[in-house]
Structures are given as structure tokens and as C-alpha cells.
């Protein structure tokens, strides 16, 4: 019985704290994306800028590691029985990648455009027994081009 109570309170804690942290993070992401909208990050290798105008080209990168809360993990294991989209993890992945992109843009400073952006993801955390600690590491890297006017 005590196990059940502990489980339920952890679940409630995970849900409460997790939802609050997620909302806060999303607000911050939306704000920063709005501020950095003028610096595009593209997967193209070139954006038709004549070479003599490029002042500098520099590799920039950004990474973020986001972890799940207990509530999401339980939802995912239930989903594992029935199949289908693991909706609880979708926001986790989304946040990690957008955060990585934003940090890459922050590193670029006042560059004009970041080209050849690649995004790598890796799952880290103790892969012990059957319970993975779900942490996702997202890394974005590209070449930041500064163009003289």
C-alpha cells in the first residue's frame, strides 16, 4: 500500500513540476525565437552570397540536454503496451532541438546567416536494466557567415 502512495505522489510531483517547467521553457523559447527571427539558419550550403562579400565564416554550435519527468515516463511505458504516438515525449524532443538551435544562434552573435545546419540527437543517461532514464541531447551546428553590407 505504501508503495502505491509513493508512486502516486511521485506521479503528481512529476506532473506538477514538469508541466510548470515546460511552460516556462516554452515561453522563454518563443521569446528568444522572436528576437532572433532575423538570423536564418538553413540547411542549404550557400545562399547566393558572392564570396568577396563574406567577411568571416565560423563554425557555431549549440546543445541542450533535456530530461523527462516521472509522469511522462509512466505515460510512455503505458504507451509501449498499446502502441501509437508517444505524445508525452514529443514536447521533450521539440524543446531540446529548439533550444539547441537558439544557443547556436546566440553563439553566432551578429552573423548574417548560418548555413549547412545539421542537428544531431542522442539519448544519454543510464541505460540500466529495462528502465532508461530518458534524457535527450540535441546538438545543432553550422557555419555562420558574416556579410559586409
Amino acid at each position: 500500500m505504501i508503495d502505491l502512495i509513493v508512486f502516486l505522489s511521485l506521479l503528481a510531483l512529476g506532473y506538477g513540476a514538469g508541466t510548470w517547467a515546460e511552460k516556462r521553457h516554452y515561453r522563454s523559447i518563443a521569446e528568444r525565437e522572436g528576437a532572433m527571427i532575423d538570423m536564418p539558419a538553413v540547411t542549404l550550403k550557400s545562399v547566393d552570397i558572392p564570396e568577396h562579400k563574406i567577411r568571416s565564416a565560423q563554425l557555431v554550435y549549440g546543445s541542450a540536454v533535456i530530461s523527462v519527468d516521472y509522469f511522462k515516463r509512466i505515460l510512455a511505458s503505458l504507451r509501449n503496451i498499446f502502441g501509437g504516438n508517444v505524445k508525452s515525449y514529443e514536447s521533450l524532443l521539440d524543446r531540446a532541438r529548439r533550444e539547441a538551435l537558439l544557443r547556436m544562434k546566440e553563439m553566432a552573435g551578429d552573423a548574417t546567416v548560418i548555413v549547412n545546419v545539421r542537428i544531431e540527437t542522442a539519448a544519454i543517461g543510464k541505460q540500466s536494466r529495462r528502465k532508461n532514464i530518458a534524457c535527450l541531447e540535441a546538438m545543432a551546428y553550422g557555419t555562420a557567415l558574416t556579410v559586409e553590407k
Partner: protein
């Protein structure tokens, strides 16, 4: 190449379902499936159990019973109880079982029929007995459970549950230990129909052995001395179930025309254990 900053209005990568709703749906679905499987397997077990052979039952019983049954220190009591059970079995309740009686020191006023032919009688019960007929009724009632193989249904269900939980969650999980504990309480208690059938069996055995059924229900009518029947209090008259059972037995005795008679006193070995009632 011209760049136009645009933003999509919505986030395409996240499905907008509320997580609590998802939890409710998934957990509810899982619960329904588990309950459904449990019920289906219970039915399957009920169908299979009458076909289970004695040897197989003894083997299965060994796994569950080892903990409960130990060497008992009250050897004399055990011997005379065993003799009484053997006498009852001899002419009137021939079962293909060898029933082994175990006496355990405990205040619990109860007797139990465990798989494998092990009958457990608690000294608390012996203390309440006033005549041999009364004791014989209780023992014959347990024999009735054996005759109908009631104890196997609980055993079967517990086995099936443990197998299922082992498959889903791995061996040695918390559900298995819960079942091990819970089995003693829930699965070993018998349904109303099983109890009634065991009662009838006991009544017939008593009539066959003694020629009358006086004192058969006197145990039921006893009021517990300290007012609290405890966990296994279903033997006491205060339990509404018992009033029904007493009524049923009295009706049956009347229908079959069982004559009244004089009850026999308790065997000497057991008298010292009984308290004046």
C-alpha cells in the same frame, strides 16, 4: 536569395492532447484488459479444476504450503483429532485423499482446508467445543471442501495471476509477493455456494456416523466471548451469513427427517483444552 522571416502559427511537432486525459485513457484501458483476463482465466480454471489429479495437486501444493505447516508441538491433540477424522472418513465420507491433521497453537477460532490434504485446526477452535458432535461437524465441513475440491480454485487463480505478472513484469516483482500474502486471505476463502455445499456434506456425514444431527449447528450459534471475531470471524452467529447457514441446515434436517439424539462428550485428550462455556 531573399530571406523572409516567417513563423508557423502552431507547433506541428506536439499533439495538443491533455496529458491527464491520455493517462486516464491508457490506465483505464490497461485496467479493463487486466480485469478481463483475470475473469476469463478464472472461468478457465473453474472448468479445469475438477480434472486435476491428486498427485499433481500434491506437487503444486508443496510450493505454497511449506511455509504454513510446521511440526506441531501438540502431538496428543493431533493424534486424537486425526483419529476422529479417520473415523468419520472411514464409513461415511470416503475421500480419495489422505487427510493430515495439523494443530496450531493460536487464539484464532478457525479451521482451514489447505491444498494437498492438509487440514489445519487452531487450538482456539478446540477451546470452544462442547461436544464431539460439534467438533465432528466442523471437521466434516472441512472434509466437504476437500470432496468438492474447493481449495483448488483459489490455488488455480493465484497460479495464473502469478504467471501473468511474471510474464509482464519479470520474476520477483512486487505483484508476486502481494499475491503470496493476499492468497492467504482472499483466495483461500470460499464462496457462499461452496460453503453451503460443504455444510450439507457435513450434515450428511454426521447423520451417517452418529445417527442424528444434534449439536451440528450449536457452534454457529455461539456468541464470541470478547465480542470481536477477528479476521476470520465468519464462524460466529453475529455474522449475517451464518444465520442463513443455520437456517438452511435446520430446514434440511427437517426435510430429511433426521431424528434428535444425545450428543457424545469430547474425547479425553481434547477436554483439557476446552474452556467451560
Amino acid at each position: 536569395m531573399k530571406f523572409t522571416p516567417r513563423q508557423p502559427g502552431i507547433n506541428v511537432n506536439v499533439t495538443p492532447t491533455h496529458p491527464l486525459k491520455e493517462l486516464a485513457i491508457l490506465a483505464g484501458g490497461l485496467l479493463t484488459i487486466v480485469v478481463g483476463v483475470y475473469l476469463a482465466l478464472g472461468l478457465a480454471v473453474d472448468l479445469m479444476v475438477p480434472r486435476l489429479s491428486m498427485e499433481l495437486e500434491k506437487k503444486l501444493a508443496g510450493a505454497f504450503i511449506g511455509r504454513l505447516v510446521e511440526t506441531d508441538p501438540v502431538a496428543d491433540t493431533t493424534r486424537s483429532l486425526q483419529a476422529l477424522v479417520d473415523r468419520l472418513q472411514d464409513r461415511c465420507a470416503p475421500l480419495p485423499y489422505t487427510i493430515t491433521v495439523h494443530v496450531k497453537e493460536s487464539d484464532a477460532v478457525n479451521a482451514a482446508a489447505l491444498p494437498g490434504g492438509h487440514m489445519v485446526v487452531f487450538t482456539g477452535l478446540l477451546a470452544e467445543m462442547a461436544s464431539e458432535n460439534e467438533l465432528a461437524f466442523v471437521l466434516a465441513h472441512e472434509l466437504g471442501h476437500y470432496a468438492h475440491r474447493d481449495h483448488l480454485r483459489g490455488l488455480g487463480r493465484a497460479l495464473v495471476l502469478m504467471t501473468a505478472s511474471t510474464v509482464l513484469l519479470g520474476a520477483d516483482n512486487s505483484i508476486n509477493s502481494m499475491i503470496g500474502q493476499g492468497m492467504v486471505l482472499t483466495e483461500l476463502s470460499f464462496s457462499r455456494k461452496q460453503e453451503t455445499q460443504a455444510d450439507e456434506f457435513a450434515l450428511e456425514t454426521l447423520f451417517c456416523h452418529y445417527g442424528h444431527v444434534t449439536d451440528a449447528t450449536s457452534f454457529f450459534s455461539k456468541i464470541p466471548k470478547d465480542g470481536d471475531p477477528g479476521r476470520f470471524g465468519h464462524y460466529f452467529a453475529s455474522h449475517p451469513e451464518n444465520r442463513r447457514r443455520i437456517g438452511h441446515l435446520e430446514d434440511l434436517a427437517r426435510e430429511r427427517g433426521y431424528p434428535p439424539g444425545k450428543p457424545l462428550p469430547l474425547p479425553a485428550d481434547l477436554v483439557s483444552k476446552s474452556k467451560p462455556s
